[in-house]
Amino acid sequence: MPRSDQKSNSNWNIVFLCWLIASISTLGSLFFSAIMQFAPCVLCWYQRIFMFPLAIILLVGLFPFDKSVVKYALPLALAGWFIAFYHNLLYAGIIPESIQPCSQGVSCTEDYINLFGIFTIPMLSLISFSTIVALLFILKRRLSK
């Protein structure tokens, strides 16, 4: 009993951590757009589409703890991760901007913030999505054991 209890406790902690990251990212992106008035580019919106529901779905999975939350959260996180990855390639100039679709409005390579030369907004997004994906994969493995 104590052993399985401990195990389910750390499973809960993993989902909780994912929720925390998703919530920080959600509020952070809202801070950039609503408070600092940075206009979000198209790719940012696509990433938001996958990040915002994570903050809700993971919370629902916490009470009572529902291990099938992985099944629902992982596809969202993966889709967001791919867009964030693409966005960073674009930002770094590995893919030329001329072939990407967001010519109207805000350019997806606009430099809003840049801490220490690496922490741009797209990079923060990629870090969030990567961490959530990694944690959810770890959880998936633990649950299938």
Partner: protein, 216 residues
């Protein structure tokens, strides 16, 4: 601590951080702009900028606007009312932020009209006829010409003057200043360098009244 409490507490802390962070950011931003207004007046007012009102006025409303912007047109009578309600105390400075596609065309007409001494008349005519030529689905800039005689303009001279590269340069300068001041939407107001805390007529009125209180 129970799990529910941990989550609840984290949620509250996150939202608190958001609200407090927002408060500090806005505070710091308005301090920065207030400082800029003193140290860097030219970012707010350029030599080419058109001004309306008493030169001795102590309250300066700097408005970044776009002739094709509906909200700018809707706000214009309010700004005029504010000036009328406080005679001699307010000076309006018009800056351009032609963010709508192709709206620099109208700025050029406006600046050409200025050379005929009909700037404010033309601006009024533009705003009044805006719905005819600036429809979002079907913008037809050439339709504006039929309204311009109402401002008493010599149209041949306008057509000639509006292509002066000086005017294009002036628009570029205004756009550069808009970028410096973080103007991304129109209209954007600065009252003695202070931005609106949030967008709205009441906020503009409150800010102007506060500046009148402080300066008179």
């Amino acid at each position: 601590m129970k799990k529910q409490h941990i989550v609840l507490l984290s949620g509250i802390l996150l939202i608190l951080a958001f609200v407090i962070g927002g408060y500090f950011y806005k505070n710091q931003q308005s301090k920065k702009l207030g400082f800029m207004a003193k140290e860097n007046v030219s970012t707010f007012i350029r030599e080419h900028s058109s001004t309306l009102g008493n030169d001795d006025a102590k309250v300066y409303i700097v408005e970044f606007m776009d002739p094709a912007c509906e909200t700018c047109s809707a706000f214009y009578p309010y700004v005029k009312n504010l000036m009328a309600a406080n005679p001699g105390k307010i000076k309006l400075i018009i800056r351009y932020a032609p963010f709508h596609e192709g709206s620099d065309y109208f700025v050029k007409i406006l600046e050409a009209a200025k050379r005929q001494g009909k700037y404010w008349e033309t601006l009024t005519v533009m705003f009044q006829s805006q719905s005819y030529w600036a429809s979002h689905h079907n913008p037809q800039p050439e339709l504006i010409w039929q309204f311009l005689p109402n401002a008493g303009l010599n149209l041949d001279k306008i057509a000639n003057d509006m292509n002066d590269p000086e005017i294009a340069k002036l628009i570029e300068q205004d756009l550069a200043d808009a970028k410096t001041l973080n103007v991304r939407k129109t209209p954007e107001f600065f009252v003695n360098g202070n931005p609106l805390p949030s967008f709205g007529y009441d906020q503009l009125k409150a800010l102007v009244e506060a500046e009148i209180q402080a300066n008179y």
